[in-house]
C-alpha cells in the first residue's frame, strides 16, 4: 500500500546536489569529455547502446558520464530518452553478409573465403596489467596489409550449400515483425520476439545462462561457426522520398553458433544454429545470445526442457536489467505503512502464540 507522505524535499534536493559534486570528483582532475568516453571507453558505450536499445554513441557516452560509470543506470537513462522521440518507422533488414569486416573468426573452418581476420581483439593478450597505460601512452599506428579482393561470405552460408546445416527460417509474406516495445509479451513467443528480447538483455544474465547450458543444464555445446564485427549500411524506406534512402552505417557484431542435431523421423541429421546480433563490438554478448537463442529452441527441435536456459518464460521475463533493477531497487523506497501493518500483525500473532502456550502451563500448575 502506498500513502502519500510529504517532506524530504530539501533532503532530496541536497542529495542530488551532493551527487553532482561526487560525480565530478576531485576538481583538480580534468573533467572527462563525451568524446573521450566514446573513443576510449568504447566497449562500455557499445554495451549501453545495445542494452539501452538505441544506437547513438554520443547519447550513450552522456549516459555513462551522468551515471558515474554505472552501466545499468546508463542503460536506464538511454531507455528513458528513447521515449521522447517519435519513431519514423523500421529500417530495411541489414545485410550482415555485406559487412565491412573489421574482425571475423571461425572456429569450424581454418580456410574460409576472406580469411580469419583477428581485428582489434583482447584474444591472445596475456591479461597482464600494462603500467605504460598509466603514464600516458601513444600507441604505434596500426600495420596495414593488402586487402583480399574476394567477398567474406557468412560461414553458415558455406555450410548451407551442402545442406549440412538447417536454413534460416524464412518470413511468411507480409507477416508482421513482433515488437516487444509496442505489444505486451505473450508466451509462447516467436523467435523474432525472443531475439529482440535477447538483444536488449543483460549481458551478465545471458552469459550465466549460456554458461549453464554449456555445463549441462540443457545440453548445448556448440562450435562458434563465425563471429564477425564491422560496419553495415542501413537503409530506410522513406515514403515521402519514394525509395529506400541510405542512412549511413552502424557497427554490429554477429555470432553464428553451430550445434549438433540428431535429426528426427522426418528430418535428416544436420547442424542447427543459434544466432546473436548486437550494436558495436559486443562479442561476449552475441556469443551468449547465440547460446541462449539455441537453447530456447528446445521445444521447436523436440528436446526435453529441463533447464532454466531452455525456458523462454523464465529467460525473457528476467533478462531485462532495467525491469529487474526497478523491481529489486524499489525495495529501498519507503514502505512505512506496509511495514506498520506487518508489525501489527506480527505482534497480534505473537500475543496469541504466548497466550496459547501459557494456558496449558497454568493448567499444569493447578494440578
Amino acid at each position: 500500500m502506498y500513502v502519500a507522505v510529504k517532506g524530504g524535499e530539501r533532503a532530496i534536493e541536497n542529495a542530488h546536489r551532493l551527487l553532482a559534486h561526487e560525480r565530478r570528483g576531485d576538481r583538480d582532475v580534468p573533467e572527462v569529455s563525451l568524446a573521450q568516453i566514446s573513443e576510449q571507453l568504447s566497449l562500455g558505450v557499445d554495451r549501453v547502446m545495445t542494452e539501452g536499445s538505441l544506437y547513438d554513441r554520443e547519447l550513450a557516452a552522456l549516459a555513462i558520464k551522468q551515471a558515474r560509470g554505472d552501466l545499468i543506470e546508463a542503460i536506464f537513462l538511454v531507455r528513458a530518452f528513447r521515449a521522447t522521440l517519435p519513431r519514423f518507422g523500421a529500417t530495411e533488414p541489414v545485410d550482415t553478409g555485406a559487412m565491412q569486416v573489421r574482425r571475423r573468426v571461425s572456429s569450424t573452418f581454418k580456410d574460409i573465403p576472406g580469411g580469419q581476420i583477428l581485428g582489434p581483439t583482447f584474444d591472445y593478450t596475456h591479461r597482464l596489467l600494462d603500467p605504460l597505460l598509466a603514464e600516458g601512452f601513444a600507441p604505434e599506428t596500426p600495420a596495414t596489409g593488402e586487402a583480399s579482393t574476394g567477398a567474406t561470405p557468412r560461414v553458415t552460408d558455406i555450410l548451407g550449400r551442402d545442406g549440412l546445416i538447417e536454413p534460416s527460417p524464412v518470413a511468411e509474406a507480409d507477416a508482421p515483425v513482433g515488437d516487444l516495445t509496442r505489444e505486451p509479451l505473450n508466451f509462447p513467443a516467436d523467435r523474432d520476439l525472443r531475439l529482440q528480447n535477447l538483444a536488449r538483455a543483460d549481458e551478465g544474465f545471458l552469459l550465466a545462462l549460456g554458461y549453464s547450458s554449456q555445463r549441462g543444464y540443457g545440453r548445448n555445446h556448440p562450435f562458434a561457426g563465425e563471429i564477425r564485427f564491422g560496419e553495415v549500411e542501413v537503409e530506410f524506406m522513406a515514403e515521402d522520398v519514394g525509395f529506400a534512402v541510405p542512412l549511413g552505417s552502424i557497427a554490429l557484431t554477429e555470432c553464428q553458433m553451430v550445434n549438433q542435431f540428431k535429426g528426427s523421423a522426418t528430418e535428416a541429421p544436420c547442424f542447427t544454429r543459434g544466432y546473436g546480433l548486437a550494436f558495436g563490438q559486443s562479442e561476449r554478448k552475441t556469443m551468449s545470445m547465440a547460446l541462449v537463442d539455441r537453447s530456447l529452441r528446445a521445444r521447436e527441435l523436440g528436446e526435453e526442457v529441463i533447464a532454466p536456459g531452455q525456458d523462454e518464460e523464465f529467460v525473457m521475463s528476467h533478462s531485462d536489467n532495467v525491469q529487474a533493477t526497478g523491481f529489486v531497487e524499489h525495495l529501498k523506497l519507503p514502505h512505512y505503512v506496509d511495514f506498520q501493518s506487518e508489525l501489527g500483525l506480527l505482534r497480534k500473532l505473537r500475543k496469541e502464540f504466548a497466550e496459547a502456550n501459557e494456558a496449558p502451563q497454568m493448567q499444569e500448575a493447578a494440578e
Binding site: T50, S53, Y55, D56, E58, R82, L85, P86, R87, G89, A90, T91, E92, P93, V94, T96, G97, Q100, R102, R103, I117, L118, G119, P142, A143, T144, G145, E146, S148, R154, T156, D157, P169, V170, A171, A175, V177, G178, D179, L180, T181, R191, D192, Q196, A199, R200, V234, A238, D240, V241, G242, F243, V245, P246, L247, L252, E254, Q256, Y275, F279
Partner: protein
C-alpha cells in the same frame, strides 16, 4: 516503349540520388558545409523543418532469414524545395539536424539539370574520395591481422 524509357530514367535518377545520399550520410557535417560553401547556392526553402526521430533497426534471423527488431537508432530528416521546384530529402543517422538539411539541399540540387554537375564535382566527388580513403584504410588495418596458417611438418614421414 516511351513508358519504359521514362521508368528507366526515373530508376537511373533514383540510383544517382541514392548514391549521393550514401556519400553524404557517411560524411561529417562540417565537410559537407565546407564543400557547399564553394558553390553559389540556389534560392530554397524548408519544406519540412529538420527534425529528430528514431528508426527501428532490423536484422535477420541467422543473418539471412526472417526479420526481427534489433533496437532503435536516432535519425534526423529534413526536406528542402528550390525556387525552381526541385524537392530534396535528407535522412541521416544521428541527431544532427543541420546535416539532414544539407543532405536535403544537395538532393534537391542533384535533381536540377543546371546544378547537378557542380554538386557532383565540388561536393560529392571530394567527399566520396575521402570516404573511400577512410574505408580503404580500415580494410588495410584489418587485412594486416589476417591469419596466415602454415603447417609444421613432423618427422620424416
Amino acid at each position: 516503349m516511351a513508358g519504359n524509357e521514362s521508368l528507366a530514367n526515373e530508376n537511373g535518377g533514383q540510383a544517382r540520388r541514392k548514391a549521393v545520399m550514401a556519400v553524404l550520410a557517411h560524411s561529417a557535417t562540417a565537410d559537407i558545409a565546407g564543400h557547399l560553401a564553394t558553390l553559389a547556392l540556389p534560392v530554397h526553402e524548408d519544406l519540412r523543418a529538420p527534425e529528430n526521430g528514431l528508426v527501428m533497426v532490423r536484422g535477420r534471423v541467422g543473418g539471412d532469414g526472417a526479420p526481427f527488431n534489433l533496437g532503435e537508432a536516432t535519425v534526423s530528416r529534413a526536406a528542402v524545395r528550390l525556387s525552381t521546384g526541385e524537392v530534396g530529402f535528407g535522412y541521416t543517422l544521428g541527431r544532427d539536424r543541420e546535416k539532414a538539411r544539407l543532405i536535403a539541399l544537395c538532393d534537391a540540387m542533384v535533381q536540377s539539370v543546371e546544378l547537378a554537375g557542380a554538386i557532383e564535382a565540388q561536393v560529392v566527388a571530394p567527399l566520396r574520395a575521402a570516404m573511400i580513403e577512410r574505408r580503404n584504410r580500415k580494410v588495410a588495418e584489418a587485412a594486416a591481422t589476417r591469419v596466415d596458417f602454415y603447417t609444421l611438418v613432423r618427422g620424416e614421414g
